[in-house]
Amino acid sequence: MEINPILQNVLAPPVLFFLIGAISVLFKSDLEIPAPLPKLFSLYLLLAIGFKGGIEIQKSGFTDQVLPTLSAAILMSLLIPLIGFLILRFKFDVFNSAAIAAAYGSISAVTFISAESFLESQKIAFDGFMVGALALMESPAIIVGLLLVKFAAPKNRPKSRKMHLSAILHESFLNGSVYLLLSSLIVGFLTASSNPSGIAKMEPFTGQLFYGAECFFLLDMGIVAAQRLPRLKNAGSFLIGFAIFMPLFNAFIGVFVARFLSLGPGNALLFVVLCASASYLAVPAAMRMTVPEAKSSYYISTTLGLTFPFNIVLGIPIYMSLVNTIIPLSPS
């Protein structure tokens, strides 16, 4: 693994702004992005990712690679929480294990777009349909997490919250961020199919503005992540280790699946990043409502305070070199 790609990754504006945010907390600057401004950028990014992804999927059509890749993505988001759960059960109760595991089975959209920016800066091609994989990996992990709670939880759970399948599906697909991503994807698809002039008119908003808005949001994420980090001390070294080891482990499985699927290096990196990233939006929101027994500080501080920064700063170039090592340069 060379040092160069890591440095190059760190020197991109989004990562630099993330670091600036984190450093401001370290130095006790009073820099603050007051609520609900971060929510504005978070909603914007989901809308733009979905919309552009929908267009790309419509454009590329359902090629040979699409279906196997999307199926594999769903499979990974079902499998990862199960593995995570088994590991976490060594130290945590059912509730916390299920909630944390679900977060790692799901994805982080901002990690995904950071990987896309990385690929662009490296001039490595990737396909638009990978956004479909992103969209499809959010819900299954939530479902697995909630099913784990339903079946593994102690029988004396308060009646009021005995989860019905309908409630599980509701939390999995109608959670605000999942819903916005999925429905924007559909809007993008429909626009590309029936109203191509709409694409050009949306482009300045969803396209040109995207990189800058990403930087602004990452500035805030840096602040939030650095504020979260100290809380990990209470979580113990097992969880801290998990927050670094689990992404690497998932990336490792992911890269072999990508090889099996014969993905090109760009798509392979995105696939690996989806496996390695953990959710701090949809899953925590869903878990907080449905599994209040789990400590939110566990599943948020790990994903946001450790796994997210690790992926953004070091993970992506590491996974890239992993991809380059494991996957033989395919002619695609």
């Binding site: 609520a35 609900p36 971060p38 929510k39 950028f41 978070s42 308060p158 009021s160 919250r161 959670n175 605000g176 961020s177 805030d220 602040i223 939030v224 504020q227 701090y280 939006l281 949809a282 925590p284 929101a285 907080r288 409502m289 209040p292 400590k295 939110s296 500080s297 948020i300 946001l304």
Partner: protein, 93 residues
């Protein structure tokens, strides 16, 4: 006249308002975006974008009887997800 202060996760707001409406309270006021710490959980505003949300602070001025009528339902609403409820004296101006 009494003043009832309820503080709880914003996502429980609909349930609480339904309870209040069913009891026919004369009115209520909702302040969102409150943050805080309870005996078990932490909510910080800087996390609001995650959809975890913050707390809502609801104030109800009403008669004691109404509060007695709602007590069980509100306790139920709050028992599972946490939140606090306090009563104090208040006189209309």
């Amino acid at each position: 006249m009494k003043r009832l202060d309820l503080i709880f996760s914003e996502r429980e707001l609909d349930a609480i308002i339904k309870t209040l409406e069913k009891a026919n309270v004369p009115g209520y006021t909702v302040m969102k975006h409150a943050t805080g710490r309870g005996p078990e959980r932490v909510v910080t505003e800087d996390m609001e974008f995650t959809g975890l949300g913050a707390n809502a602070h609801v104030i109800v001025f009403c008669e004691q009887e109404l509060i007695d009528k709602m007590r069980d339902n509100i306790r139920d609403d709050l028992s599972y997800y946490g939140g606090v409820a306090y009563i104090s004296e208040a006189t209309p101006l």
